[in-house]
């Protein structure tokens, strides 16, 4: 076995030295020589000296890990040098021995799927996980970055279990995490509607909807715990929609044939998040969660291969802080904002995920992005974000464009109103192409179908980038039903419409209001205009079955990880996954790791690794401030977004992807020459926050395109023009390639996005038969 440590290079017996004598420090290698079977020791001088009295031979045994003690005025510099040298040697060793490297790598990518039949894996695993006793939990700290559904529920549950939680968010309150914006609903296999739903069916729909690129065992577990989520939320006082009998109501979402979606009007995410927030508040009041609002995580601190804390910036004072813990959980949401325009919040970012990626966490399937078919179209260049119109609207709304190109022209020039176009002159293209699922095909299919019509010139607004979502049929249907219920005989057309509009209002009122405020048109009277927009990222940090990343002690949950949705996420499944991870999975699985930490004791932030991370963060921000160029962060973000949308958007090909990679690199170089951020680091500086986030997007964007280039198949939201069905009934549809691409791409950082190393996690399917998805 090889060992590397530090030692003093004594030239005479130790006792002959005075405590104040300066002695050289060396790096000591020891290894077993296979030929002679003897231990060999080799010392190499490091060029650093210290006094005997300041030397700590047992440095590795105490949490601060200081070989040179603080009594030496230069202890920090000296220790940094020692660890730098050690690190270099470690890296070089790996490089020499390829076999070793391969070994380490493949073992790192062990998904740790428990053995046994699918429907018993989770139960068996839970029963075999080591538990931490309550007294010991009090001595264990966990950092949670993010307070959305994933981070909020995890923080509350971990604190309830007895761990000391430190939670971070960049907003001024945990209640404002972007989960708040989720509209449509949350899935659960409750089968309250008795329409044949079951755990297996939810599992099957999710794997199929994800186009067979997710890990079966994780998805099965998700379906298993889904019912508990609803029970838990109701117990917390989440006011889900109910029927007149007082029981919970359901609606259906795209890609499935049952009604399993629970909702609270168009504000389901808000209600669920406020539930998690209230659970957090209870623990904050008890002192079990320490909440850090307006704080941004800017680095992960890794000590001896384990995640031990983070560096965060207080966004109000600018102070750069060190926070330690026995484990770090990243729940920082998705990275859709790499496209600049998306349905994400303005502050949504990839920073936390990207920082851990650079510290050793593999990034999986970065190119798997969901483009949502129903968003409000862009109105001009001032546009800062796009607003989603919930998929639940496709339950009742019908999507169409005019059949005749002349009508399109007339609409654009304002000569014709959509309501004046006759039924037979409308092309309900989803119903036409996919009779079985109609308007409820999965999102990727619906988005591409819209793009196909728009590319063919049938877009209905002045930018040519919109299709209609029409409620007139639904309003009439509901109106007639209601009139019947009320016993109105021969209701007039007006009465029907009025009654129908009332029903639609109770179901979707807030969405219709939102539309009206933005577009300035009344969606009850004229069809809404919609267009696809970037919405969700299925890709994310690679995690194993326990939700641990490739860095021991660093976990990743919610949208930030890659695990459950494969290449396409079904509607109402992200909320389910976030809460499953945070309430019901992570609190158990983290015990496996933390049970080995009960003897570690408090982790000090006074260590070389913390100091090094902190100074790197400061240096990076300082560098950005010092460029003093001419262009604001938005300039680069908008440019990056355009490159991504054009070449890495709804439809991708080799040539475009190569162009994107080149362009993004160029843009990154330009950033370092031209960025302008005023002010300084040590005060509230929103431009600096923005610039630092954009910089991370500029790096991620490149990896994103590289991943899309590697995957020469069409699956889910990833559509490669090179891979389509050439003939048969599916002609023109996306073509998956299971022979060559049935794997998760997990990228390892290696100094630069372009040098990332690809690791493949082979996907095995035992429960679900691989089929080409058909929604026809």
């Amino acid at each position: 076995m090889k060992k590397i440590t530090f030692a003093l290079n004594y030239r005479k017996p130790k006792l002959d030295y005075n405590p104040t004598d300066q002695i050289e420090i060396c790096i000591r290698f020891s290894h077993l020589d296979k030929k002679t079977n003897a231990h060999k020791i080799k010392n190499i001088s490091c060029g650093v000296k210290c006094m005997l009295k300041d030397w700590n031979n047992d440095w590795h045994k105490n949490p601060e890990r200081l070989p040179v003690l603080k009594t030496d005025p230069d202890y920090s510099k000296k220790n940094k040098k020692l660890f730098d040298i050690r690190k270099k040697i470690l890296i070089n060793q790996f490089k020499k021995s390829d076999d070793l490297e391969k070994n380490i790598r493949s073992s790192k990518l062990d998904p740790k799927i428990p053995k046994g039949p699918m429907n018993q894996k989770w139960t068996n695993h839970k029963n075999s996980i080591n538990l931490v006793n309550p007294a010991n939990k009090r001595n264990i700290d966990v950092i949670v970055v993010g307070t959305g559904l994933a981070g909020g529920s995890a923080s509350a549950s971990l604190a309830e279990l007895g761990y000391n939680v430190k939670a971070f968010c960049y907003q001024d309150s945990p209640r404002r995490a972007h989960s708040i914006a989720a509209q449509g609903g949350i899935n659960a296999a409750k089968n309250y509607q008795n329409d044949g739903d079951s755990i297996y069916r939810l599992f099957y729909d999710t794997v199929k909807g994800g186009d067979y690129r997710s890990r079966e065992a994780n998805v099965y577990r998700l379906a298993e715990v889904s019912g508990n989520i609803i029970d838990q939320c109701v117990a917390q006082g989440v006011p889900f929609a109910r029927e007149y009998g007082g029981l919970l109501d359901n609606r259906s979402f795209g890609g499935v044939l049952v009604s399993r979606t629970f909702y609270a009007k168009g504000q389901t995410g808000q209600q669920l998040l406020l539930g998690a927030y209230s659970a957090m508040n209870r623990q904050i009041a008890k002192g079990k969660i320490q909440m850090y609002n307006r704080h941004e995580m800017l680095d992960l601190v890794v000590i001896d291969g384990k995640a031990r804390g983070i560096i965060a910036r207080n966004l109000e004072t600018g102070e750069i802080q060190k926070h330690s813990a026995h484990a770090v959980v990243i729940a920082s949401g998705g990275y859709g904002n790499v496209f600049y325009l998306s349905t994400n919040a303005m502050g949504s970012n990839v920073t936390a995920s990207w920082k851990i990626h650079k510290k050793g966490a593999f990034f999986a399937n970065p190119c798997f992005t969901q483009i949502h078919p129903t968003c409000i179209p862009r109105s001009g260049d001032h546009q800062s974000k796009l607003t989603l119109m919930s998929e639940s609207l496709r339950n009742d709304g019908r999507i169409w464009v005019p059949k005749n190109i002349d009508d399109v022209e007339k609409i654009r020039s304002g000569k014709l109103k959509p309501t004046e176009i006759k039924e037979q002159d409308r092309d309900y293209y989803l119903e036409r192409r996919y009779p079985a699922f109609g308007n409820l095909v999965p999102r990727d299919v619906a988005s591409r179908a819209a793009k196909e019509r728009i590319d063919a010139g049938f877009g209905v607004n002045n930018t040519g980038e919109a299709v209609y979502l029409d409620y007139s049929t639904a309003i009439k249907r509901y109106g007639k039903e209601k009139a019947l219920l009320l016993g109105i005989k021969d209701p007039s057309e007006n009465e029907i419409v009025k009654l129908g509009e009332e029903i639609v209002e109770t179901k979707y009122g807030n969405l219709f209001q939102m539309y009206e405020k933005i577009v300035d048109e009344n969606p009850y009277k004229t069809p809404m205009m919609i267009y696809p927009a970037v919405h969700y990222t299925m890709g994310g940090v690679w995690v194993d079955y326990n939700l641990m990343t490739t860095i021991p002690g660093c976990y990743c949950i919610g949208e930030a990880n890659f695990s459950d949705h494969g290449a396409n996420r079904l509607g109402a499944s992200a909320l389910m996954q976030g809460l499953a991870d945070g309430y019901f999975v992570l609190p158990y699985t983290i015990g496996e790791y933390l049970s080995n930490e009960i003897r570690t004791g408090p982790i000090s932030v006074e260590s070389v690794e913390f100091d090094e991370s902190k100074s790197l963060v400061e240096k990076k921000l300082q560098n950005i401030l010092e460029v003093q160029g001419k262009k604001p962060a938005d300039y680069f973000h908008i440019k990056l977004g355009k490159i991504m949308w054009e070449y890495v958007g709804m439809s991708r090909n080799e040539k475009g992807l190569k162009t994107a990679i080149k362009e993004i690199k160029k843009l990154r170089d330009l950033f370092w020459q031209e960025i302008f951020v005023p002010g300084n680091m040590y005060s509230m500086n929103k431009e600096l926050e923005k610039a630092a986030r954009v910089l991370d997007f500029l790096e991620l964007g490149e990896l994103f395109a590289i991943d899309a280039l590697d995957r020469n198949e069409s699956c889910g939201g990833h559509y490669r023009e090179e891979s389509v069905e050439k003939d048969g009934p599916q002609k023109g549809e996306a073509k998956r390639d299971d022979v060559n691409y049935s794997y998760v791409s997990a990228w390892e950082y290696n100094g630069d996005p372009s040098k990332a190393v690809l690791h493949k996690e082979k996907l095995e399917f035992t429960e679900v038969e691989l089929k080409q998805r058909s929604y026809k």
Partner: protein, 249 residues
Amino acid sequence: MDLTLKVWRQKNRNEKGKMETYQVNDISTDSSFLEMLDILNNDLLEEGQEPIAFDHDCREGICGMCSLYINGKAHGPDSRITTCQLHMRKFKDGETIYVEPWRAKAFPIIKDLVVDRSAFDRIQQAGGYISVNTSGNTQDANLTPIPKDDADKSFDAATCIGCAACVATCKNSSAMLFVSAKVSQLSLLPQGRVEAKERVLNMVKQMDKEGFGNCSNTGACEVECPKGISLENIAILNREFLKGSITNN
């Protein structure tokens, strides 16, 4: 459209602030108010100046982060919307627009238009929850039917986004609408009844401690509330409070 803006600028918590005047030109009526501020900020940056700091995140009226006092109205002209949902079509070409932060003793200004609303979090921590631990064995969600009316009313109260426009609007800087929304959401549900008494007493106590003013039933809060939280909730809070105080004595 071309506009003159008078904006509150303040370096940090300690320094004094003042109104500054800016000019923005060529703004599309379709752009949102915050997009107009983005344009102004990018103009400022091009001149090498510090942009105006303001809070915002979701930009779709749900996170409650945006918080501007525009022309003397919380969230500006137009009703039932947040600042981020305000569009420039609500203004006239050539108009002068005044932009200020929320002003209330309990909300210190941090910078420019950004205020510290952590008092709201502390009120919620004082009792805005149902004490239930996470467990896989909570009772089935459909075991206790809840009359649709109660559920709907509870939901309506629960839609409060914690933006604090109600406080900014109130001449007494009272937080009653905000507090009452949580109190009634939970007290309307059977699972929230158990702790109803302590909840209302503790939340009101914390509200007073944070330095919010008294409610004098003027009703300005309801008018400016972007989510239409109804004054009825204040009546429910008062009822709960009275019940709580009596039985507590």
